[in-house]
Amino acid sequence: MTTLGTNLPPSLLATLAGHYYTDPTIFELEQARIFETHWFAAARAGEIDTPGKFKTVQVGRESVLLVRGRDGVLRAFLNVCRHRGAKLCVEESGETKRALQCPYHAWTYGLDGKLVAAPNLTKMPDIDRVEYGLVGVQMREWLGYAWVCLADEPPSFEDTVIGAATARLGDAELIDRWEVDSLEVGRRIVYDVKANWKLIVENFMECYHCATIHPELTEVLPEFADGYAAQYYVGHGAEFASEVQGFTVDGSEGFGKLEHLSEDQDRRYYAVTVNPQVFINLVPDHVIFHRMYPVAADRTIVECDWLYSKDVVATGKDVSRSVELFHRVNQQDFDACERCQPAMSSRAYTRGGVLVPSEHHIAEFHSWVTDKLA
């Protein structure tokens, strides 16, 4: 059987075959080789702000526990008791006064992961309290998020995470101007999308669909109607329409541009993808930060934060018009992804589909995925 890719006219490149989006075996391989080996934005660090606060996050097939220590340091551990393997914290988030205690046999760990107490522990002086403490997970904080990596030897954070932003924006320092770590979550919306995570990444990378499904977005960013996403270029911010005042659902005025942005970055929209699960949109007065949590071959949870200056959030300014713009875009995109998902197992898509020139850069993402799975 010939593959579609071999006889394509130059305008077209092949997508992945349909089963890449439906096969549980491939999904499991992706969990192991992609989500459990790359840096993964797990949580907004500022939400775990005081000693004893914790959050549990599913990363690949592991539950990861993020907890702020008494020394103020945020740490990540596998959420598993070292004794008999019970899940340590079952809540998604919470606050513990002093320690993390397994609800099964009461093995008790300090907020630094060290084994503090256990029944009869003093009669077992040969148990090393660090050795039998919680298993630590590599963690870095960047843009105000706690990024974790389950690999024993994580890839370079500078190359694979910061480097992704640099490659898209064409300048290593540009993203720092938004001071994303000092912004506050003005709104968070969680989407339960019945689609494979790769459909969501691919959708985010192209704008061939923009004129068809994003009427509000193309009103604000007219060049998107041409089908070339900000992600197609290096260092390109899509310009706001001349009659538009802000990045809002009706083009009405937003908030003042963030402090360190120059005139060059004003009235523009930048977008960055950090493989495998983060999309960042940068506009003059806020940042939209998406994190994907793949749950199954055909289901992905997407958490989207709208981040504003401390002042905007503290003074309770109405963020609804700017939230509404990208919330609609998200709904339109995720509806489209959900429309594709059932067709991934259709005979019509056995060998996959095609990418038009304005989507050709998606083939690089496909190579990235297949390289990891090889």
Partner: protein, 109 residues
């Protein structure tokens, strides 16, 4: 008397466990030293590993607090008190004079 440690090795807010016939824990509460049996009367856990707040030590396993002055638990699950012991400081060293009272719980070391 049982030697415990140098005074400087037991800073404020800390505890030290000593192996006597029965393990004993000595606590430094704002400069005042207290000694009690180290083992919780509910389940075998070291109170020296617990959390000190004022004159109360909270067991690290099931959160019963014992009053260091009386040895009495303030609430369940422990029901029986721990013994208290006299602390003596001589020449910058901490010693404990072990109480001769009978252990309240069956778990004799």
């Amino acid at each position: 008397m049982i030697p415990v440690c140098a005074v400087r090795d037991l800073p404020v807010g800390e505890a030290v466990r000593v192996e006597a016939d029965v393990p004993i824990a000595v606590f430094n509460v704002d400069g005042e030293l207290y000694a009690i049996d180290d083992t919780c009367t509910h389940q075998d856990a070291s109170l020296a590993d617990g959390w000190l707040e004022g004159c109360l030590i909270e067991c690290p396993l099931h959160a019963t607090c014992f009053d260091l002055r009386t040895g009495n638990p303030t609430g369940p699950p422990a029901k029986k008190p721990v013994r208290t012991h006299e602390v003596v400081v001589e020449n910058d060293h901490v010693y404990v004079r072990v109480s001769t009272s009978i252990l309240q719980h069956g778990d004799v070391a």
